[in-house]
């Protein structure tokens, strides 16, 4: 296929996401989202088992793909390019998705692009909220990053030095016997609390750490059993830390938009705190719609399309997965 056809406004890109517990397919044409379908693996007990999650992805990809095609009302032959999440993420999950993406691309004889999952979150955030040049707080079960665009790259201004905030919440929930997913349960319980219990607050410059907070909150639970109060205090402390590092990065970078994304973005209290902070600095606060804040295939297809239209091409050899692919390693040629 000629390159002129590929950079056409109506180029159709199919993207497959599968870095962790969600297998998703998104289809984008131009800047129009045609379909966003996904399934999420829920462990029967404990956390995500990478191999089990990969098996889940392999099992569900067919139906997710069929649904996405049906929703967008196109057939496989109309697809111009395949994009997939090349990393960062869990090895077995990444390899499963990469294999499927390669098979699709070869079968359809279309180009294939491996895209960075974290950058995908930022780009779909810009597309769905209209943000131009935001400071992004990306918070999920696997990631906690404060990201801003600076000279051709998305630079990480702050990040967790140990576990992600979503992981902190999920593990606390598991520790005290709350059902999965933990975040919404904690948010609900926190609303019933009437006392703030002091917990360790760990901000290091623009970076932060959550494991001490998780340990302290768990200990407090075994000591007092005051679950709503601890949920409340855990949220207040963790989110104040996140808001503070975002505020520091905002003052440092001088950006005028704050964008919140990732699974934890659904939390109303976190949204409220960031909104207050943004107002104080005369910055516009934007939250990515839930469907696109969670891991999803659409962000992968959208980023793949952006890359394709700006001349990025990958050979099959270059589609080897990258478990530790950092946000700031990507050359952002489309901005």
């Amino acid at each position: 296929m000629s390159d002129t056809k590929l950079v056409n406004r109506l180029t159709i890109c199919l993207g497959v996401e599968g870095t962790a517990h969600t297998i998703g397919v998104g289809i984008v044409s131009g800047s129009k989202i045609l379909a966003n379908v996904s399934r999420t693996y829920v462990p029967t007990k404990g956390g995500i088992h990478p191999r089990e999650a990969a098996r889940f992805h392999a099992d569900k990809l067919k139906i997710v793909l069929e649904e996405a095609l049906q929703k967008s009302n196109i057939n496989l032959k109309q697809i111009d390019v395949i994009a997939f999440s090349i990393g960062p993420g869990l090895g077995p999950c990444l390899r499963t998705v990469a294999t499927a993406a390669r098979a699709l691309a070869m079968r359809l004889e279309v180009p294939i692009l491996g895209v960075n999952h974290c950058v995908g979150h930022v780009e779909i955030g810009r597309l769905t909220t209209g943000a131009q040049d935001p400071l992004t707080l990306y918070v999920s079960g696997g990631n906690t990053q404060v990201i801003a665009f600076e000279s051709g790259r998305y630079r990480i201004f702050g990040e967790t030095l140990d576990i992600a905030v979503g992981n902190c919440l999920d593990r606390f929930a598991r520790e005290v016997g709350l059902p999965h997913p933990g975040g919404p349960q904690i948010e609900k319980l926190a609303a019933q609390a009437n006392e703030y219990i002091s917990l360790p607050y760990s901000v290091k410059g623009m970076d932060l750490a959550f494991s001490g907070l998780l340990t302290a909150a768990s200990k407090e639970y075994y000591k007092t059993k005051k679950l709503p109060e601890i949920c409340y205090s855990l949220q207040e402390t963790a989110f104040a830390m996140l808001t503070e590092v975002t505020e520091r990065a905002l003052a440092h970078t001088g950006k005028s938009e704050v964008l919140l994304t990732g699974g934890v973005a659904a939390n109303k209290r976190l949204q409220g705190m960031l909104r207050l902070m943004s107002e104080e600095h005369n910055a516009n606060f934007l939250v990515v719609p839930f469907e696109y804040a969670m891991d999803n295939g659409t962000m992968i297809s959208w980023l793949g399309l952006l890359m394709l239209q700006h001349g990025v091409r990958h050979t099959i050899e270059e589609t080897a997965v990258r478990q530790r692919f950092r946000t700031d390693e990507v050359d952002v040629v489309w901005r």
Partner: protein, 212 residues
């Protein structure tokens, strides 16, 4: 009184007293935090910063002189340092001069660490070049520790600040910092630098793995 800077956590006000310029650093209330947490954070940082700034100067690191502390209003009154932040200065300097300054920064960090002081927010925005001296400011996230882990995190923050803000010369600049740091800390410096690499590898998505 003139507001010269609206930082993330404090307003910086400039005032003239007896013909001399002074700075008021006022940690303002943050509406997004619960009041109990908010006051504890502002109070401990105000109190801590005052002591750390004084102790840092005793350790041989230039810092502004503290005149007053108003705990109720979480405000510190201190000397105004007229100069340029390293954040802007480093971008303008030729390689050799930049390296020289970075090495001096490393020496000063070494002096802090030798005196049990962890700065807690080492960025080039918190260093002011003035009269041939590099003043360290903003000790709000600082504390006292001789722990290698704490010193390692302190150094790592500066490395990360270089990577995000001075990406064009981040590696050389940080190398120069380490040269100065080694001069002051000697053998102990290696333990801290190795720990820095270890902490880095502990974070997410770092390619370089360190085996002990």
């Amino acid at each position: 009184m003139e507001l010269i800077r609206k930082g993330a956590e404090a307003n910086i006000l400039l005032e003239k007293r007896n013909g001399e310029k002074i700075v008021l650093k006022n940690r303002i209330q943050k509406k997004y935090r619960v009041p109990q947490l908010d006051f504890v954070i502002r109070d401990t940082r105000t109190k801590g910063e005052t002591k750390l700034i004084t102790d840092a100067r005793r350790a041989g690191v230039p810092t502004p002189i503290i005149f007053e502390i108003d705990r109720k209003n979480t405000t510190i009154v201190m000397q105004y340092i007229e100069g340029e932040r390293l954040r802007e200065l480093l971008e303008k300097l030729p390689d050799n001069q930049r390296a020289e300054i970075c090495e001096k920064v490393g020496q000063q960090i070494g002096k802090l660490h030798n005196s049990k002081i962890i700065h807690g927010d080492l960025t080039t925005s918190n260093m002011i070049y003035s009269r041939d001296c590099i003043y360290f400011i903003d000790f709000g996230l600082g504390y006292y520790s001789l722990d290698i882990e704490d010193q390692g995190v302190d150094l790592l923050l500066l490395k990360r600040a270089f990577l995000s803000t001075h990406y064009k010369f981040a590696d050389q600049a940080f190398e120069a910092v380490l040269r100065g740091y080694r001069k002051v800390l000697g053998r102990r410096a290696e333990a801290v630098i190795n720990r820095t690499k270890e902490i880095e590898a502990r974070a997410r998505y770092v390619v370089e793995r360190v085996t002990r």
